[in-house]
Symmetry: C2
């Protein structure tokens, strides 16, 4: 028996979402016995490379097995700057937007009713990126940032604009995180990836959007009877009522 | 595209395994991009009630969609004592053993190559159970334990004996946890359920058994190319090599 599936499609920030305190495992726990949360996170991937995965992860022609909801969470790698150390991951912002559009169009072909939530990249703490690079490469570390908060913000704006254009829900993580003092250290572990608290923000925002779209765990049925509903003298009754 | 699936089938200790530091989410993280870890945990269930779920969770006749591995982790509720507050969950130990055997036989019908790992219930800290009951029910709390460590140990022994009889791998959690000083507080949060450290023990033991059975994440292929394998001038090549 398959439960409804929620797919998390994205880069390393999605791939790492099942680490302790991660937003993916918190979602999985919240939807316990109601939906399966499936991670499709690809560290280092930009949207250009993500397109190669689309038909493998979301095959056409089987809407019964399509997820009920998908988060699309790219952009942190697309926004790497040209001519800097992460140059090869760079994707121009217009192409980034167009690639997200292609992903959305494909998902809507898989299932027109699928809830699609776009998530912008988080903000960048350039000082944090620099310290991180020095901790790994020492003197050889880049002197100029490979990502800036300003440029990443432009990708976030394009993501928000696309969501509006397509009538999709969107989590503007770039803006949301910067509303909090000390977001640089509080939410980011290396200037880019998320601390457990940063994961908490993603979890809260994604859950809120899911709930607004009627995908609230409290309103979804349990897959099988709650144990308190089972009559120990006649257990089969509860299962006849709920499983057949 | 479906990845190999690892199903965790059990009671509340399995259902809670995606909480922060939980053994399920740690497994999911370890098998990232290699296998999907799917939780089928049912709080309060004993093996008698679990039998009603078998054909729903593990349908016959589709071995291609059967999991590559399943953990069967029941017994904590079966071992509740007769005539005490959790009486309705009690299942006699011989029936418990027979029910686990039925689950195994069904899974082997689904897929003869499926790796099946039996997990015994963890030990019981009777004082911890008592404090927990008092914290919830105050003066009305049970005066006599609804579970004892000794009786739960008999269920664990039967589980281990069945694994030997059937040639299955087994994690004897009941014994393993008691090898450590202060296991009562270190591993159990309410005398029965697991602390993050207790979850760590389950994670380490289950991973070890999976690895011994050749299901080691290090030896399994990534689902798609690692980002460093993608030539940014000719990205399709990496995907042709790996995805077609």
């Amino acid at each position: 028996m398959r439960r409804p599936e929620i797919i998390l499609f994205g880069d390393s920030i999605t791939a790492q979402s099942f680490r302790s305190g991660g937003w993916g495992s918190r979602l999985a726990d919240a939807y316990s016995r109601k939906a399966d949360v499936v991670v499709r996170g690809y560290g280092g991937y930009n949207t250009r490379w993500a397109l190669f995965l689309l038909h493998h992860i979301f095959p056409l022609g089987s809407s019964s097995t399509s997820p009920v909801a998908t988060t699309i969470f790219f952009g942190a790698n697309d926004a790497a700057l040209r001519g800097r150390t992460s140059d090869r991951q760079h994707v121009p912002v217009e192409e980034y937007k167009d690639n997200i559009r292609k992903i959305v169009e494909h998902l809507k072909k898989c299932s027109p009713t699928m809830l699609i939530v776009l998530v912008t990249p988080p903000p960048i703490d350039e000082a944090g990126r620099q310290s991180y690079a020095e901790s790994i490469y020492g003197e050889k570390a880049m002197k100029k940032p490979e990502r800036t908060n300003e440029i990443t913000g432009i990708y976030a704006q394009h993501c928000v604009a696309l969501a509006e254009e397509l009538g999709l829900r969107c989590v503007n993580l770039w803006s949301k995180m910067q509303e909090t003092d000390d977001w640089q250290k509080k939410y980011l572990s290396d200037g880019l990836h998320l601390t457990p608290q940063g994961n908490g923000v993603v979890y809260e925002e994604v859950s809120r959007v899911f709930r607004e779209a009627w995908l609230a765990p409290d309103e979804m049925p349990l897959d099988f009877p709650h144990h308190s509903q089972i009559d120990d003298k006649n257990p089969s009754k509860a299962f006849e009522d709920r499983c057949l």
